[in-house]
Point group: C2
């Protein structure tokens, strides 16, 4: 990495603990269906996984939002379910529905491929990262990502989205096997993220989208321990890129424990999380990202303006990366993203 | 109410702040599809709302779990969506799916009936309460209930379950109308709950099942203010029965504010909530109910035993009513309810 270029990447400065003012901005799911140019690009692949595995298409999808908006970072266009696919589990995306997998809980013996071989299958994703970095302006940050081990496990266990009750039941009923699954996912995810940084990702985000609804006794073994192992494995592999953890919809106590005990460098907060109270719990040095209500990018106007100002106030106590509390919805209006950027930067 | 009989109702003693040991036990959705006798009874009505409005059937459903298990309380068998139905909005329950309503957000002008007339339509529900109380042993508590105003509003606004994003969007886009809707729901709910206590309900639970996912700035106007108004209106109406609030999946900060600011007498905690940490935040006098993982009534065995003991430890710092963190699932095994009762009481 070119020293001076990297120095100019505002998001990396915030991740290093600097209070950058105005804060760097990127938006979860900034590449997506609310953009007409994304919808046109998407038609060029037969299915969603094929799209994710086509480096030219996925790189273009990653770059589209930065061609249109003055965002501080691009995020790799991919999906957290490429990992189970690479592990040899069937994954498909039915139109207008969520992802589907062959559920492990229906099977007597759980089989999946071994991590090193699985990650080789993800080389098109790593090639996408390389292509994005080569086209991205030197002062923009490139974010790599993967799902948290537990989140990916929930999809593999019960085969679909929605409440993760059957996945949780498997933890009680087949705890040893779930432990092996989490270990395989953690190792595969570490290798996958390491390959992304080697290909040019500046920082990494771990999406623990199903941190929600876990009893206190299960949060440590299912979320904290695998994430701690994931981060320490990344460091063993020589990865120095900062890691942002996103324990979506966990309780405040769980988010605090996650921040303190996993080794992540920064925290992404969901829409309902209280940034000011978590800032008080966790201290003023941990960079925090979030947490505007994505519905405000549909609504616009005065509610958007009030929401942006509220987020800026809520996160003022430490390093902040401006973002949403959840991904952009397909109904979001692109012009509201421009308004958001203006509001964040006009002070 | 007969003084001595009421004194023997353990759940009322816990709600009055007494540390009853072993704690009284009831289970959310204890009358339901996991019981074969419930499934047989349910077949006697053509649809679910008709079942709720048939006092003989609904009273029998309320009493079934107490005929089978030594539970400390019965809860009225009904549904939170009888209130929108009574307000003149069409509600239906498709087999195997969640409830459906004609969504308000599709309509230019929102119309619903006025509260006094709406509550008259709920008289079969009040008759159910009377029947249950007359058959219930004198030492058992009878719980009346309704949905929280915001939760019922989310169903009315977007017409179906799932994430409440469109309901939240309506708050930003049509705030005044949402305010009027919440006011009508609050008044109707107060009258409905008052009628339940007049018919014999000893205490009341307000199910705020969609307290989840609300930004900090919306929790006060959508959940706290309407609940505070609901409780104070109940007191104006002369209702002395204690009120249990269940702000499901709210953040810890939101639950704390709800406990302090709404006037509810007791708090019901969802599966993920940290009872010990909320106990420390809220103090040792507020009765708390919860919060065993309902999946443990499917699984049974050692995980159930460990879960029950964990809940007993977590709630030991104040008055406790043993319950689940969410409703019993249809897959629950009735024999696991017996095991639960034995475990709670064997110490």
């Amino acid at each position: 990495m070119e020293g001076e270029g990297v120095q100019s990447r505002k998001m990396l400065r915030a991740l290093a603990g600097e209070r950058v003012d105005p804060p760097p901005v990127w938006l979860m799911r900034q590449a997506g269906r609310y953009l007409p140019e994304y919808r046109a690009l998407r038609e060029r692949a037969r299915n969603f996984l094929e799209f994710c595995y086509a480096p030219a298409l996925a790189a273009e999808a990653s770059l589209q939002p930065l061609r249109r908006f003055d965002l501080d970072a691009a995020i790799l266009f991919s999906d957290i379910l490429t990992v189970p696919d690479a592990l040899g589990r069937r994954v498909w995306f039915a139109d207008g529905e969520g992802p589907r997998l062959d559920p492990l809980i229906a099977e007597a013996r759980w089989r999946f491929d071994e991590p090193v071989r699985a990650v080789q299958r993800l080389s098109p994703v790593h090639e996408t990262v390389e292509r994005v970095r080569s086209e991205l302006a030197v002062d923009r940050t490139l974010i790599g990502f993967a799902g948290g081990p537990w989140t990916v496990a929930t999809y593999m266990l019960q085969g679909e989205g929605g409440a993760k009750d059957r996945a949780r039941r498997a933890v009680y009923e087949r705890g040893d096997e779930v432990g092996e699954l989490l270990a395989a996912l953690t190792e595969t995810t570490a290798l996958h993220l390491a390959a992304q940084t080697k290909a040019g990702a500046d920082c990494l985000q771990v999406f623990e989208s199903w941190a929600e609804g876990l009893p206190q006794a299960l949060f440590e073994p299912l979320v904290i321990a695998p994430t701690r192992r994931l981060v320490s494995r990344l460091r063993e592999l020589g990865v120095q890129a900062p890691v942002i953890g996103f324990p979506r919809a966990a309780t405040s106590e769980q988010i605090e424990a996650y921040a303190r005990e996993t080794g992540v460098d920064a925290l992404s907060l969901d829409t309902a999380a209280s940034a000011s109270s978590l800032r008080a719990r966790i201290g003023s040095t941990t960079p925090m990202q979030g947490n505007l209500d994505p519905q405000l990018l549909v609504v616009g106007g005065t509610p958007l303006e009030q929401g942006v100002r509220q987020v800026l106030r809520d996160f003022a106590g430490g390093p902040h990366i401006f973002n949403l509390g959840h991904g952009i919805t397909p109904e979001a209006k692109p012009e509201n993203v421009d308004t958001l950027l203006r509001l964040v930067r006009e002070r």
